[in-house]
């Protein structure tokens, strides 16, 4: 069946099997391998992408269900060679080690800051509670998101 999805701002129409999961559509059909495919059971959060601005687990969503919706993956964060503040925050404060959970963490962090520009540590921890990191641990991830929030606030003041 043909589905038309807007992915990272670009509208694409593809012939997909109804049973194709969004994570495989993103990785295999679109070749965007930044989104990771982890537990396959909606527990780990490595596959999180944004659907109409909200984080969702792409291993538990059919590509067909996304027809007519906007999907954003980690590839959309960096613009013209400039990292998104959440990416910069993970870089500055060592928010990743092996990097497997990172794309999901970044997208959830992006959505959090879009809805709540000044989250508390507890709000950050709640936001990423559906995502599992098995090496860096969460402390640096939380610090990185706070760094991004503060950095964005400073940028807004300057603007």
């Amino acid at each position: 069946m043909d589905v038309t999805i807007t992915i990272n701002g670009e509208q694409v129409t593809r012939d997909v099997e109804p049973r194709q999961l969004l994570v495989h559509f993103i990785r295999e059909t679109e070749g965007l391998t930044g989104t990771h495919w982890g537990c396959d059971t909606s527990n780990c959060g490595a596959c999180v992408v944004l659907m109409d601005g909200q984080p969702i687990k792409s291993c538990t969503t059919l590509a067909a269900m996304c027809a007519g919706h906007e999907i954003r993956t980690v590839e959309s964060l960096e613009q013209n060679g400039t990292l998104d503040p959440v990416q910069q925050g993970f870089h500055e404060l060592h928010g990743l080690h092996c990097g497997f959970c990172t794309p999901g963490m970044l997208m959830t962090a992006r959505a959090l800051l879009d809805h709540n520009p000044n989250p508390t540590e507890q709000e950050i921890r709640t936001a990423i509670s559906g995502q599992i990191c098995r090496c860096t641990g969460y402390k640096n991830i939380v610090s990185a998101v706070r760094w991004a929030a503060e950095h964005e606030a400073a940028m807004r003041q300057e603007a």
């Binding site: 069946m1 049973r19 059919l62 269900m65 709640t126 509670s129």
Partner: protein, 291 residues
């Protein structure tokens, strides 16, 4: 790689259209909303529908107060239930439960209608709706019918909704002096309950006019603790009374031993959580009565 078995897919554009499609494709057709219960079951081949009807485009996402009830559309997502100030004010049990259902990302997709129709005894909203004495609107080819939560669950993972019917709305009666609370013990954050209890109390002039107690993960289906509810009616709320109700709930549940714990532990939780939920429900009801 876990991928569902092949199926055909259709995007419904109206409730009547979805119902007509269910009737046309027979028992091998299933509705899909958030998909966070159905897709995992399809990956494991525990469910193998041949035809999926996607109802996400239907206008069934709302929480509104009408006369003497609050009505919730079946497609309302967990995240919306959690954030609703109307629900938090009328039925704080919803926010208690939503804070511990799965995780925020899953809550962006999962729906109340899907949760109830999945009929997993360990699912929290089933207990919430049963304690609040909710009824559900079910539409089919021959019109709609309203089913009380006390007649909704007919067995494990089985509801009174027919193969060609669709749950469209949840109705919660609003009465004065209401207080409600949800208590859950889980192995880790976001997991299904080892045991969970929803309680609702309606106070009138210092006595309990009506009570609702529903137990999650403590039997083959969500259990309404009728004997404990009866004990409470007409009496003044007290610690002793709530402890007695807890003892009865522990006696009347039928938990199975599994990886989450043995029977005696689950019975113990049933009692403790019933008492705690009633205590918090009463405190909230009394707070409301002052206003």
């Amino acid at each position: 790689m876990q991928t569902p078995a092949p199926f055909d897919y259709e995007r419904a554009t109206s409730v009547d259209g979805a119902i007509a499609s269910l009737a046309e494709h027979g028992p091998e057709a299933r509705l899909i909303a958030g998909g966070h219960s159905l897709l995992p079951m399809m990956k494991l081949r525990l469910a193998t529908p041949e035809y999926l009807i996607d109802i996400n485009d239907l206008e069934l996402s709302y929480i509104e107060e009408r006369m003497t009830e609050v009505r919730i559309g079946a497609l309302t997502r967990h995240a919306e239930l959690l954030e609703s100030d109307l629900l938090a004010r009328r039925f704080p049990v919803f926010r208690d439960a939503e804070e511990v259902i799965a995780d925020p990302v899953v809550r962006n997709r999962g729906t109340i209608g899907g949760s109830l129709c999945q009929a997993d005894a360990a699912e929290d909203l089933s207990a919430v709706c049963a304690a609040l004495k909710a009824s559900v609107v079910v539409k089919g080819p021959n019109g709609e019918r309203v089913i009380g939560m006390d007649g909704f669950y007919v067995g494990p993972f089985t509801t009174a909704v027919g193969a060609d019917e669709m749950l469209t709305e949840i109705r919660l009666p609003v009465q004065q002096g209401a207080g409600s609370a949800h208590e859950k013990v889980e192995r880790r954050a976001g997991d299904f309950a080892i045991a969970a209890v929803s309680a609702a109390l309606w106070l009138q002039g210092g006595t309990i006019a009506d009570a609702g107690i529903a137990l999650g993960a403590l039997g083959p289906t969500t259990i309404i603790a009728g004997r404990a509810e009866e004990l409470l009616k007409g009496k003044a709320p007290s610690e002793e009374l709530f402890a007695q109700a807890g003892e009865i709930a522990a006696e009347d549940c039928t938990p199975l031993p599994d990886g989450r714990g043995p029977v005696d532990y689950k019975r113990h939780l049933a009692g403790v959580l019933t008492t705690r939920a009633l205590r918090r429900a009463a405190a909230r009801a009394l707070q409301q009565e002052v206003h």
